[in-house]
Symmetry: C2
Subunit: 250 residues, 2 copies
Amino acid sequence: MEPPTIGIIGGMGPQAGLDLAAKVIAETNAARDQEHLPMALLSYSHKIGDRSAYVFGEITKNPGFAIASVARTLAGLGVRVAGIPCNSAHAPEIFNALTSSLKDVNIRILHLIQETIRYTQEALPGITQIGCLSTLSVHRLGLYQSAVERAGLTPIMPSNEIAEHVVHRAIFDPTFGIKAKSAPVTPQAREMVLSAVRTCCDLGAEAVILGCTELPLAVPHMPDVTLIDPARALARALIRESSPQKLAPL
Amino acid sequence: MEPPTIGIIGGMGPQAGLDLAAKVIAETNAARDQEHLPMALLSYSHKIGDRSAYVFGEITKNPGFAIASVARTLAGLGVRVAGIPCNSAHAPEIFNALTSSLKDVNIRILHLIQETIRYTQEALPGITQIGCLSTLSVHRLGLYQSAVERAGLTPIMPSNEIAEHVVHRAIFDPTFGIKAKSAPVTPQAREMVLSAVRTCCDLGAEAVILGCTELPLAVPHMPDVTLIDPARALARALIRESSPQKLAPL
């Protein structure tokens, strides 16, 4: 029997789609090409409006409907489980529009933020104080904060000042930000992300969620801090839900 | 009007598909997510037999037919131009089986090796001595050698000894090879690739084609040697043939 195909709704941004696909490959037990899991990645950036702009009321068209149309195309390819590597797309207004317009479609969209919390509980049992860094839209909506709370853990949030002028700026600044310069990330952006992680630790965080796909590009590892990468959590969840026997050990 | 979707027949190996997709993104003129080109990547490794094994007569089923079935699926998504980031898949026996079984399908498969030569002539006019490094199957078939000759240029080939015991081994050795350890590449594999490039230069090469998707992972840049990356050439050709106005300058 053929293994089920993993779906990725990419393009938000395009690099984040590839990053999730790379993590699916890295988390799969496979020694040869032929042992890897089938994967379909549709990177249809041009169809999907800016998620943060919608959350902030700057555009009125809900991007959830365009995301749903990509999911429908994936379902047509036989995909039954898919993921969206974009934190802002998991804002309830967008994610609910998506799931409600997929009611009649045989596909499940795994939830990036819920899977990150599940991964945290499985991979880091006993840790309760979780730092949450993200873009400003995800921060203001409290997406990670409320998910951590619902899991009975304690979110450690940076101040609004740090969320806006340190984390968000490190991602979006047009001259030195990670979106503008990612290969390599500028020392200035890297320092800003490191300082935000340290602030969470000073406030008591035992591990820190890097809740924006750009953040792990700036700080893939820190010797003395446990970092949680939502894309890795989602990659593992996609394998778990489609071919669990292929999931590499933690 | 919607821009045409770029197709990638991936999974040979899975990382090479992502590498080509990353180069399409990098070579596209786009400042925002929404300005990127639509791209569909099907990574169906499990369906496609080993290309080198077929070329060497170790398996009898021509992988060209499985590659064609993926191309047909891409055509069903509206893709009219696609690429295959695998040098061995361009062995004439495989590529001809592919194109002949796509006769009734409205999709064009760009040719990785021909596009690499075209890129070399456009990007490096005046250079005539071209080093050609590759896996052993591509080397033995002379795929780059004959394509360089047909373009009126002079191929500079490593000896069979170096092709097998240096280049091929740097890629495939199970303990230190690039396929086994790519993040990061081991110093031993990197040194072997560097020495093969230097050998080509000593033989008179003015530029060196890294004709295997693993080789640029080991040696992305050299300060004093012009390296040619076929995946970059194919990425640019895919943009040129679908949305030429979006192609970034060389």
